[in-house]
């Protein structure tokens, strides 16, 4: 199955958003990358190899699971797109694998990445082990301590994990540090950004590597005896990669409602990571998008129980989709997310990641609107990494 299409925006802009707000040193690198990506996606040797590895290494296609008991409780038909069953436990490997193959094709021997929850770091460390590439992962010191299991996984996979002690010591600062490394080692190094953020071509490229989520969903709905277009799709949004991946093939299908769920942290009037709900346009990490910032244009620290959503920016395409109204964005608190973990665990025997749990927590709010209708939820990752946090919240 050929699952890739030529959707690469020429200029890297989504309306006013996106672009390349980066130091001059990185301009040749992103131009080279955009060209290499375009050529690779048009080269069947590359896409065949990627397809083969997605099938035989990642475990794709991931199932589309009918969530019978939760459906009954909510009064609708709920299907879970099971990205939690990907190798390494989250959708992140779709992109890490694609970019690592591309880096190898470009002759880059060294890979760097940033990570928040550690899922992207683990996925990157994994594909680097697979291809024998050097791997350095930047991770905020705060995240190193709350995602210890993933730190150990990365080390076991042969990656060097560099704790970042600047700023808020989370994903934002890990990204700054990764960009500084890239600026310094741009000749030898490819930077595998973990979400649909950063300068062009990253937002478009990362989306294309995750488009497989939505394309499989279309086909699998039909296999379930349903139309290929559901009534609604729900996904969590930090940077927004799993959401864009599952939304992408449905963006032009206007009968499909799209819902993105951000982290409301301890509350939208308190500390949160609800960039699209409460942010304003600004430039961070190479792109113009929505941003949590103060009136001086200084970037605010985000807050969420979920390290993967704890980011004050968001992918520029999401900013565009918010402004155009194509996607509805919501926010869910830490407490609601933990309740979402419990809900899915008890009704379906699936322990989701705290990121994913934000999407689950939205379902009760949508139940009335979609009564008797079909909803697909992107089950973006599994919850093993979050067990310490979940347990301390639920069981004291």
């Amino acid at each position: 199955m050929k699952i890739y299409a030529d959707h690469l925006e020429e200029t890297g802009h989504f309306g006013q958003y996106g672009g390349r707000f980066i130091p001059e040193i990185l301009l040749p690198a992103v131009e080279e990358l955009a060209q290499a990506f375009g050529e690779a996606m048009a080269d069947s040797r590359f896409t065949d190899q990627l397809d083969l590895l997605l099938r035989t290494y990642v475990g794709r296609p991931t199932p589309l699971t009918y969530a019978a008991r939760l459906s009954a409780r909510l009064g609708l038909r709920l299907y879970l797109k099971r990205e939690d069953l990907c190798h390494t436990g989250a959708h992140k490997i779709n992109n890490a694998l694609g970019q690592a193959l591309l880096a190898r094709r470009m002759g880059k021997s060294r890979i760097i990445a940033e990570t928040g929850a550690g899922q992207h770091g683990v996925a990157t460390a994994t594909v680097c082990a697979l291809f024998g590439l050097d791997c350095v992962v930047y991770m905020g010191e705060e995240d190193v301590s709350r995602q210890h299991l993933n730190v150990q996984r990365m080390k076991l996979l042969g990656a060097e994990v560099r704790p970042v002690t600047s700023g808020s010591r989370t994903l934002k600062d890990a990204t700054n540090e990764a960009i500084r490394d890239w600026v310094t080692n741009v000749g030898s190094t490819h930077y595998i950004i973990g979400s649909v953020v950063g300068p062009h071509p990253y937002p478009a490229m990362v989306r294309e590597f995750h488009r497989v989520i939505g394309l499989e969903t279309r086909q699998q709905l039909v296999e379930h005896g349903l139309p290929s277009e559901p009534d609604a799709i729900v996904a969590c949004v930090g940077g927004g990669s799993n959401a864009i991946g599952i939304f992408a093939p449905f963006l032009n299908a206007n009968s499909v409602d799209l819902h993105g769920v951000e982290a409301a942290g301890s509350g939208l009037d308190r500390e949160h990571a609800a960039t699209l709900s409460l942010g304003s346009p600004g430039v961070l990490h190479g792109a113009l998008s929505y941003l949590l910032q103060d009136d001086q244009g200084q970037v605010r620290e985000a807050h969420s129980i979920s390290a993967g959503l704890d980011y004050p920016g968001v992918g520029p395409q999401h900013a565009y989709l918010k402004d155009t109204g194509r996607v509805n964005y919501h926010a869910v608190t830490d407490d609601e997310a933990v309740a979402g973990v419990r809900l899915l665990a008890e009704t379906e025997g699936i322990i989701p990641a705290l990121e994913t749990a934000h999407a689950i927590a939205l379902l009760p709010r949508l139940a009335e609107q979609y009564s008797g209708q079909t909803i697909v939820l992107s089950c973006s990752g599994r919850g093993d990494k979050d067990m310490a946090t979940i347990a301390s919240t639920l069981f004291g």
Partner: protein, 268 residues
Amino acid sequence: MSSLSEAIALARSEGRKATGLFVTAGFPDADSTDAVLDALVAGGADFIELGMPFSDPLAEGPPIQRSSERALRHGATMSATLDTALRFRSRHATPLVLMGYYNPVLQYGLGNFCTDARSSGVDGLIIPDLPPEEAKPLADAAAATGLDMIFLIAPNTSDERVATIDELSSGFVYAVSVTGVTGGQLSNFESTEAYLSRVSAVVKKNAVLVGFGIRSHEDAVRLTKHTDGFIVGSALVSLVEELWDAPMSVSERSSAIAKMVADLRVGH
């Protein structure tokens, strides 16, 4: 000719390399930036880059990152930075350039920012995360108010692109010495020299000044063989940090800063 171009031309006519110094506004604290700037002028700076603090300065090494964090902790704002520029202009004729990241400028409003900067005596802008492709709105506003717009080039910038950047720049072209962040190690000298020689042949309209990683007079001498001047940032910021963390009088600190600038200067 802008004051900045004039200052660089004057240095050249005196057989010197133009000396630019970078310091962050609001650093080491809101009340002390003025004293640092005065000392830079006393030491013989040909122009000054005043840093606009930002929470996420992604092209900066640790010293300038720390200076930015410290200024923000002390409540630095864009208005305070412009006030610093205005007070500087009331005391000195030395050209002053604002250097900083795009988002605070964008939030201030591009037109208002350029108008207020110009009326505060600012002569030019350096925005390291704003390559020419994204710079038109700000460059237009800068041109309308008479501010120089200084773009950067790097060792991996093609000749064709260097020529374009020269065309779009005014004041000077900022040649980043190495692929890296500010305050990094200067790399292989032969390749740096070859790069600067190549660039100086391509850049026709503007002077070329080199910066990033220059710590000493010797560094400055080596890197200005093919360029019209140089900029020192991290080394100065580190010195200021040291001086203000030590129990010293203002005049002792000022003399140390002035001495550093005087020692850096190349040519007579």
